[in-house]
């Protein structure tokens, strides 16, 4: 008998593991976000970098604080599993690129403390923490949360340098009018309310353009649809997410948009305008696919995704806010337990209702 034989604990099978881990999954999502993030820095300059950094740091700090207050012994392990970092990153992606410093701090607090830890920490939250923070900020502070800037690539002369960037970030002064801009969703909504239909408003000089490569105003990380899509495809390829949710979200937006646009192009934006603007891509691939707050089954995820897409379109088209992704995600998050309750996989040897299959005739 060696000492090892005495300490061996009974461990149930399996004795092999596939090697997947929470941190690996989180890391892959972060890798998928890198291109769009770097591009965002280039488009919106130093202020956006500070915003991104402080949002993440704020999330990590509040996570550590919560864990300490809850008496968790292995704070480091939970803190660096990547989930808090990812929440902060995703929240930063959805904020206006020149949002002031306190937005980052407050956002981190709402996301981590109210959105996640009060429910019991990782895996227990009902709502997507980043979206909880996004919506709470938007509702509480509509002005700084809807001030978009023209993309000013770092290389351009007008772009703020490091010091200017810091000043913009820390002083939260109103932005100069010249830099302010509207997203296409906000612009068309405003114009429609003034009685100018889409055919005219979009034809005007002021009209924001659609762009796959993100040369449009919008939140810091969501404008480069192509890069977001690329990140999403990477997630699909590595098996972090399945096609169900993103496909359903995009279809949920595109289908009603296409129908509306075909019926009345003067009042309804086209499907491509919907898909390429706002948080459509980011939401479909990175937000709605959050494991904790989305259904567990493929069919459940399709229902969930279609719901998000459709609600997004409804809010964008008829609601008071130009963008509805965050609201739609939260609404469907609330429905997730219901979906999970009703949409279950069929058990082998049972029918959908869980009744054992009948023994075929002649074999009884």
């Amino acid at each position: 008998m060696t000492p090892a034989t005495l300490t061996a604990q009974p461990v149930a099978s399996p004795h092999a593991h596939g090697g997947n881990s929470v941190s690996r999954t989180m890391l892959r999502v972060q890798v998928a976000l890198v291109p769009a993030t770097l591009y965002g820095f280039w488009l919106f300059g130093w202020p956006s970098f500070f915003l991104w950094l402080l949002t993440i740091l704020s999330c990590l700090a509040f996570e550590a604080l919560s864990l300490k207050m809850m008496g968790v012994t292995q704070i480091k392990r939970t803190l660096f599993d990547g989930s808090a970092l990812l929440t902060g990153w995703l929240l930063a992606m959805t904020l206006p690129p020149w949002a002031p410093w306190w937005v980052a701090i407050l956002g981190g607090f709402i996301a981590i403390v109210i959105g996640k830890q009060v429910f019991g920490g990782v895996g227990q939250n009902v709502f997507n923490p980043a979206m909880v923070a996004r919506v709470a900020l938007l509702v509480s502070f509509p002005l700084p949360l809807t001030q978009w800037v023209y993309p000013l690539p770092l290389t351009s002369l007008a772009a703020p340098d490091f010091i200017d960037g810091l000043r913009i970030f820390l002083t939260s002064l109103p932005q100069p009018d010249a830099m302010a801009s509207a997203s296409i969703l906000g612009y068309t909504k405003t114009e429609l309310s003034r009685g100018i239909d889409l055919l005219h408003s979009l034809a005007g000089d002021q009209a924001p353009v659609l762009s796959w490569i993100g040369a449009r105003s919008g939140s810091f990380g969501e404008s480069a649809s192509l890069l977001i899509l690329g990140g999403g495809i990477y997630l699909l390829a590595t098996g972090v997410i399945t096609w169900h949710t993103p496909f359903a979200v995009l279809a949920g937006i595109a289908l009603p948009a296409a129908i509306g646009h075909a019926v009345d192009p003067g009042h309804y934006l086209s499907a491509s305008a919907h898909l390429l603007s706002g948080a459509a891509m980011l939401g479909a691939f990175f937000i709605a696919t959050d494991y904790v707050t989305s259904p567990n089954t493929g069919s459940g995820q399709i229902i969930f995704g279609l719901g998000i897409g459709f609600l997004t379109w409804v809010i964008r088209t008829y609601g008071g806010y130009p963008e509805g992704m965050a609201f739609a995600v939260l609404l469907m998050n609330a429905l997730t337990p219901v979906i999970d309750r009703f949409v279950k996989p069929r058990v082998l040897g049972r029918d959908r209702k869980g009744k054992a299959l009948d023994v075929p005739e002649g074999n009884a």
């Binding site: 461990v11 920490g121 567990n296 996989p345 082998l348 040897g349 049972r350 054992a356 299959l357 009884a364």
Partner: protein, 505 residues
């Protein structure tokens, strides 16, 4: 086929997991035959069902193949001496189980002669009635060699009663690391096919479908060649995917029919046997040889010479490993000892555990293979839902079990769980899901037993109460009767006295 696979993948209809199979190089090594060890340790319970009952005395000399413990009950199997020698003890030894608990066993000291008892074979098993084959298989102690060790004769007889039409032969060997079935199919295909023909005869099934995972091309080739002459035996390559060798999954893939929940394969006209069992059955029927040895895979990063070894039942794992070339660095870096496969096998506390009839592998894992980690909280990623071959919701079941809400776990399908381990294999949070399910099943069984015991106690108490009441009643009645008798006697006496007085007057 390729298109269908993509389509199925899109529909998330790809149950199971694809672990790295680690079968080679062990599978490609020629089989080594291990000499008989000095002592053999033969547990009385090597099969599902009732344990065998010893029929030998300590000090008795036995020959190879002689019955030393007989079957007991409907579902059981006898045990035979794997070599000739002397019975030295009937005692308790460590069971091949993670608990390290003991179980009764017969210890046999080999005399080195390895002398057979007189055997009664049969040249033409197809002339025998099915029931007679079942009897011979039962007498030879043949059990399922895939791991579950269910007595084969019980299945054969049940199948011929249930009028099965299809014999499904399990050559899947979906457990990683194991290659004993692969080796048997490559080396002894003709014997296996002969065994399958005897099984067909004994069960009355019309066709035999032999499912072999497509990661064993040599076995498929050998088996196809051996079965070419028999059109009722069809060799089918099935996709390599764990748990393909699980009964319900293999039946569905090969026949397209699902076994109803709570039902048996015989309900849909199917019976499943392992390919290794076919070979053991063949020698039991044709040569009259009982099951006393089997092929065991020795594998794992710590095994210095992985391969397949023919071992007498009752040999200690320690000696098998020593014969196979020992452990690398004398066991330095050994993280876990496993009997069976890595997905469903048993962790054993030390190597002094005997090989039993159902032992398919002896695995010595290092820390790379079983990186132990503390579980993290569930992040509800749903990987386990996708992996579950039964269509269950492991994450929901485990959260119910954590709250001891066992009845809710049952509603979610706990009893359909086959403990294959796919969920725990894919879990990024390393939650020991199978442990949860096994624990819950154990708790439920204990509750059932407690309930039965409670019911029995209640019944006894009621009976006692009734008996006491009856006795009290009887006592009262008897007293009343006695009193009445006494009074009657007194009255009679008084009357007699009166009569005497009258007479004397």
């Amino acid at each position: 086929m390729g298109f269908m696979n993509i389509f199925k993948h899109l529909l998330a209809d790809d149950w199971g997991v694809h672990p790295d199979d680690h079968k080679r190089p062990a599978a490609d090594q020629a089989v080594r035959v291990m000499p008989v060890p000095a002592k053999l340790y033969l547990p009385l319970q090597q099969h599902l069902g009732g344990p065998a009952r010893p029929v030998v005395l300590v000090g008795q000399k036995v020959k190879k193949g002689e019955l030393i413990a007989e079957a007991q009950g409907m579902v059981s199997a006898p045990i035979h001496a794997p070599t000739s020698g002397t019975i030295t003890a009937v005692t308790e030894i460590t069971a091949p189980h993670p608990s390290g608990l003991t179980l009764p066993a017969i210890i046999l000291e080999a005399d080195g002669l390895d002398e057979w008892v007189e055997l009664h074979g049969c040249d033409d098993p197809f002339a025998l009635p099915a029931a007679e084959i079942g009897k011979r298989v039962a007498a030879a102690g043949v059990v399922g060699l895939g791991g579950a060790a269910f007595p084969s004769a019980v299945k054969l007889i049940g199948a011929s009663r249930a009028k099965v039409t299809t014999l499904v032969m399990n050559g899947g060997e979906c457990e990683p690391y194991l290659s004993c079935d692969d080796r048997l199919m490559r080396d002894q295909a003709a014997g296996i096919v002969d065994g399958i023909r005897i099984m067909l005869h004994a069960t009355g099934a019309k066709i035999a479908l032999v499912g072999i995972e497509d990661n064993k091309p040599e076995a498929i080739t050998a088996m196809s060649a051996a079965a070419a002459a028999f059109e009722q035996i069809r060799i089918r390559a099935v996709p390599a995917r764990y748990p393909m060798g699980s009964e319900k999954q293999l039946i569905q893939v090969l026949t397209g029919i699902e076994v109803p929940a709570d039902g048996r394969p015989a309900d849909i006209g199917v019976v499943v046997h392992n390919v290794g069992t076919a070979l053991a059955l063949r020698s039991a029927v044709r040569e009259g040889k009982p099951l006393i040895s089997r092929l065991v895979t020795v594998n794992g990063n710590c095994a210095s010479q992985p391969g397949n070894i023919e071992v007498r039942v009752g040999t200690l794992a320690e000696e098998v490993i020593a014969f196979a070339g020992g452990l690398k660095g004398d066991g330095l870096g050994l993280a876990r000892r496993v009997m069976g496969g890595p997905m469903m096998g048993m962790q054993i506390p030390h190597w002094r555990v005997p090989v039993v009839k159902g032992t398919s592998g002896i695995l010595a894992f290092d820390t790379v293979e079983v990186a132990e980690q503390e579980p993290n909280p569930c992040i509800r990623c749903g990987s386990c839902v996708k992996a579950c071959p039964m269509g269950l919701l492991p994450l929901e079941m485990s959260s119910r079990i954590r709250n001891e809400a066992y009845s809710e776990a049952i509603d979610l399908g706990l009893k359909d769980c086959i403990a294959c381990g796919c969920c725990a294999y894919v879990c990024p949070s390393k939650i020991p899901l199978v442990q949860y399910f096994v624990h819950a099943k154990g708790e439920l069984a204990a509750q059932d037993r407690a309930k039965l015991r409670g019911d029995a106690t209640k019944k006894l108490a009621l009976q006692r109460q009734e008996r006491l009441a009856r006795e009290a009643r009887e006592k009262v009645e008897a007293a009343a009767k006695r009193k009445a008798e006494r009074e009657a006697a007194a009255a009679l006496k008084a009357a007699a006295t009166a009569a005497v007085v009258q007479e004397s007057v």
